[in-house]
């Protein structure tokens, strides 16, 4: 077969990109190996470390090269590349090209890899004695991520998916499109028909979506550092020494990951129509759980550094939190969430790859937990054999891997119990370490509860594959698990909130009083004194808050308790900063973060607990009202004002600015006459239908959040629909299209009065009044008579009501035939929600992040001081 030379392709950036992928992978592989040797050997330490640094340098440059190549392709609209064709289009503004960059699975792993490389560069400069073991782990992760971008086929199984794959290779069917035959375009010129890409998912075309995923992935990437430190601690038998240098990094991971998650919340609030900033969606949960566990781990690290206690818990929390980061990516990116999430992403064949990544990094801590090198090598060999079996069989072998993992976990805990120095002196309840331990356990529980609900699709898969044969009949939990028919809770808000509210209460209370205790031993009398002072302030504010936020202490007592805990945390930390730290702000990072967190809790409880759907529909009499008691949407006809809560709202019409439809809704506040206009908008897309974007009016104490829920299909409107004829006499009344119409009377007038042409005709002018709840209009259709012959008629139109009237004489004296037509009115179905005091949430967020920044600076200083001492 003759080789076709394709025209108008730009192959250079793709080839360069491929080259960089291979180069970065080789460099990472060599670097990991050299760092490993540097960690293991005594004499060759510096030799191998220097080699490894060179390899890392090459790796870093190559990763930047991959990023640059891919961006160059997207930026120049080279749609001969599948990635650009799938995720971008010519009309896409430059800032959304960044979103195109990571919309696909390959791009998001590239982003992750990029952040690892950036973090690695800082680590190489900063770590000194910890560099070799920590960087071994980081570069191992880079090897796994790098293979995901490889896109080569080895022995029938393809390894990874290259972001530089050409469109004609990924989708060969495009070369044989009928269009090309009709227009007689040779295959070599296929680029003539590929003029534009399919574009970026409209949901992602929002400025928060430009920064939210990169931030989240930065947080994910940063969480490898505490993990790598903990592994290094076991590896080098420096069981506690890793904690001080790892702490600033752990805080960085906590801060960035937290910021990323909250940005996702803001995105949801600004551009999604699920009505809020948090919906307990699996994708949100999947990133929240590792965050909760890193926070718990970070607190146990601090606790251990100061008292020596709970070392094993610190290890386990840090290990598990990183594995959950991988698990979270697996949930989001593997498509396993399917129809259970509003934003589950597409399924590519990288899920098996991700599972292997998870498996490997779960086994690494188990390997280093063996303290004798013979056992270490033995277990490494076992791990490699299990991985090899998976690779050879070409699939993820659930049963074997699950059993092996279980064994590895048991061995890890056994090894840790044996080798970790026990810090337990006398156990006292009156110590700071005890209450920090309690707090960490509560955070862990909170994470586990969320994890359970979120993992249902995974339970289904595992249940089906292990218990499949035992399913039998019935509808028990076991049956549903074994047959893979479990679904996530249909009411996730209740399922999660019922537990999480109490976890939040206890965590907030603990952040309020734990700091008054000291490590090892505390003066109980002093503690009680300080606690009492913050308690008094809390009671006053809780009572005031209950009135201000209009909480009902009888039915909303849970919210009152949570508010109490929140205020307690604020004042406890405030007094601690003033008295315990003597007002030294640079030491107060932790306390400030606590205050921010507590303020967030209060903001959440008020804005969500007291959120008020004002578009509640009370007007219509429903036949089946009891089947669904709550109607949360309101129908607004164009130009017909309607009341909604304290507002009079009018839908003023719709405008289309490609690709967005804007719906203008005027609000008038009936309590004070102030007016404002909102433009809830939507994109209408072939695949996803109507994608509404809310528009929100912000006030200091509340937000009014409005979005359209449904609109009539735009191509349908404009046609007049004739109604059945009615035979009526003056004085009759009838209903038409939610209006009341009264046929008042008929006036007659000689035609000459109008014009000479009408001489001899007698004009009959019908007088109809049309009444709606808010206005009255009049219609005057006319017919003419010459002697007894009906000569002509004139239609009368009432534009505002969308009605037309015609009438003519009936067969009997005094009866008239009335013909009406109805124009379907432009309307929107809209939902409006008031979120009170949501600004407390945003303020709390900012304060918490500020607290993290202070804490990172302080911990960094301490880590440096420790290093100098050593």
């Amino acid at each position: 077969m003759e080789k076709i030379v394709f025209n108008n392709e730009h192959l250079l950036p793709g080839n360069l990109g491929h080259l960089f992928v291979v180069l970065s992978l080789c460099a990472a592989l060599f670097g990991a190996f050299a760092y490993f040797l540097s960690t293991q050997s005594n004499e060759g330490k510096n030799f191998w470390r220097n080699k490894a640094r060179i390899a890392f340098g090459i790796h870093l440059v190559s990763v930047i090269g991959i990023v640059a190549s891919l961006f160059y392709i997207i930026y120049n609209h080279y749609f001969e590349y599948d990635y650009a064709w799938q995720h971008s289009s010519i009309s896409l503004p430059v800032h959304y090209m960044i979103s195109s960059f990571w919309e696909g699975q390959e791009g998001s792993f590239l982003l992750w890899m990029f952040w690892h490389a950036v973090i690695g560069a800082v680590l190489v400069f900063k770590l000194k004695s910890w560099e070799s073991p920590v960087m071994t782990i980081v570069l191992m992760a880079q090897v796994v991520l790098g293979t995901m971008l490889l896109g080569v086929e080895i022995a029938g199984t393809s390894i990874g998916i290259s972001p530089f794959e050409l469109l004609r290779e990924a989708r060969p069917e495009l070369l044989t499109l009928p269009v090309m035959q009709i227009q007689n375009i040779p295959v070599a010129d296929y680029m003539k028909v590929i003029t534009d890409g399919t574009g970026l998912n409209p949901l992602l075309q929002n400025y928060w979506m430009v920064i939210h995923p990169p931030t989240l992935f930065f947080g994910f990437a940063a969480s490898i550092v505490p993990f790598a430190f903990a592994v290094s601690g076991l590896w080098l038998k420096k069981f506690r020494e890793w904690i001080a240098p790892a702490l600033p990094w752990t805080l960085v991971a906590v801060m960035i990951l937290g910021t990323g998650i909250l940005m996702g919340g803001i995105w949801a609030y600004e551009s999604l129509s699920f009505g809020g900033y948090w919906a307990w969606d699996p994708v949100e949960n999947a990133s929240l759980v590792p965050w909760l566990l890193i926070i718990a781990g970070m607190h146990v690290m601090i606790l251990n550094k100061n008292s020596g206690a709970s070392l094993m818990l610190a290890y386990l929390l840090i290990f598990v939190s990183f594995i959950l980061v991988l698990y979270s990516t697996f949930l989001n990116r593997s498509g396993i969430l399917g129809d259970t999430s509003v934003h589950s992403f597409t399924d590519l064949d990288l899920s098996g790859h991700l599972l292997i990544f998870m498996l490997l990094f779960t086994l690494v801590p188990a390997i280093v937990s063996f303290q004798r090198s013979r056992w270490r090598w033995g277990f490494t060999l076992a791990t490699l054999i299990v991985l090899a079996i998976n690779l050879i069989s070409g699939q993820f072998l659930t049963e074997i891997n699950a059993l092996f993992l279980l064994a590895a976990m048991i061995l890890l805990i056994r090894n840790l119990t044996k080798s970790l120095p026990s810090g337990d002196k006398e156990e006292s309840v009156y110590t700071r370490e005890f209450w920090m331990y309690v707090g960490a356990i509560i955070l862990l529980l909170s994470g586990i509860q969320i994890l359970f609900g979120t993992s249902i699709p995974v339970f289904n898969k595992i249940g089906q594959s292990i218990l499949g044969g035992l399913a039998g009949e019935g509808n028990t939990f076991f049956h549903r698990l074994a047959s893979g028919t479990l679904a996530p809770p249909e009411d996730p808000i209740t399922y999660y909130n019922r537990f999480q509210i109490w976890f939040a209460v206890f965590v907030a209370l603990l952040t309020g009083f734990t700091q008054f205790f000291r490590y090892n031993k505390s003066d109980l009398v002093r503690v009680i004194g300080q606690v009492r002072r913050s308690f008094l302030l809390t009671v006053i504010f809780t009572v005031a808050g209950t009135f201000l936020f209009k909480l009902n202490p009888r039915y909303e007592w849970q919210l009152v308790v949570l508010m109490f805990a929140g205020f307690y945390s604020i004042f406890g930390n405030f007094i601690y900063v003033l008295e315990g730290l003597k007002g030294k702000i640079r030491l107060a990072g932790g306390s400030i973060a606590h205050i921010g967190f507590a303020l967030m809790l209060i903001g959440i409880l008020v804005s969500s607990g007291k959120k008020d759907v004002i578009s509640v529909n009370t007007r219509y009499a429903y036949a089946e009202f009891d089947e669904k008691a709550q109607r949360e949407n309101i129908l607004l006809y164009k130009d017909v004002p309607d009341t909604m809560g304290r507002y009079l709202v009018t839908y003023k019409g719709h405008e289309f600015e490609s690709p967005i439809h804007y719906y203008q809704v005027d609000y008038t506040d009936l309590t004070n006459g102030s007016k404002f206009t909102l433009y809830p908008n939507a994109q209408i897309n072939n695949e996803q239908g109507l994608m509404p974007n809310p528009d929100t009016r912000h006030y200091i104490t509340r937000d009014i959040f409005t979005h359209v829920s449904s609109v009539p299909n735009t191509d349908e409107d404009g046609e007049w629909e004739e109604q059945d004829e009615k035979v009526l006499s003056p004085g009759d009344t009838f209903a038409l299209n939610r209006y009341m119409v009264v046929f008042q009377r008929i006036d007659t007038m000689p035609g000459e009065n109008i014009s000479a042409d009408l001489a001899g005709h007698l004009l009959h002018i019908g007088r109809f009044t049309i009444t709606s709840p808010d206005s009255t209009w009049e219609a005057r259709p006319v017919f003419g008579m010459k002697n007894i012959i009906h000569t002509y008629q004139i239609t009368s139109e009432v534009t505002q009501a969308g009605l037309r009237f015609d009438f003519k004489p009936g067969s009997e004296q005094g009866k008239f035939i009335v013909q009406t037509s109805v124009k379907p009115k432009e309307f929107i179905i809209m939902k409006a929600i008031v979120f009170p005091y949501i600004n407390l949430l945003w303020a709390g967020t900012i304060i918490m992040i500020l607290g993290f920044v202070l804490a990172i600076r302080q911990r960094n200083k301490i880590a440096r001081a420790v290093k100098e001492k050593v």
Binding site: L445, N475, N686, E687, R738
Partner: protein
């Protein structure tokens, strides 16, 4: 018993409570026949819209109610009364996931609906 152990015991109890609550609150995927066997529980049913039978929606009367006919994966057909606003482009959808309970012999009352339209990719191919 040491204080830490008490805490761990309480934690274990709470963890078990969380599992139990999952046990009682997890939803079910199934078909109309499942739903008919468990009339008290909401079931998530994957169905296909029967376009020929039409869709009844009168927003002036009730913007949060529409009625259509659907057939589940086992081939059973039911009239579905859905108490939500009609999703845009519902007419065009193929796969419809409904969450609700059966009513009588031939109806199903849904409180949630999710639709899947023909994919973007296929559309693009046919556009070219």
């Amino acid at each position: 018993m040491k204080a830490k152990q008490i805490i761990l015991l309480i934690a274990l109890a709470v963890g078990i409570a969380a599992l139990v609550s999952l046990y009682s609150e997890a939803g079910t995927k199934g078909n109309f026949a499942h739903s008919a066997k468990n009339p008290d529980r909401e079931v998530r049913v994957k169905t296909t819209l029967i376009k020929e039978k039409g869709i009844d929606y009168n927003p002036e009367i009730d913007p949060e109610k529409f009625v259509f006919f659907a057939i589940d994966e086992k081939g059973e057909e039911r009239k579905v009364i859905c108490f939500t606003e009609k999703p845009y482009d519902f007419e065009r959808s193929e796969e419809v996931v409904i969450v609700g309970k059966v009513k009588g012999d031939d109806e199903f009352v849904a409180s949630k609906v999710q639709i899947k339209c023909p994919s973007k990719y296929e559309d693009e191919i046919s556009d070219i």
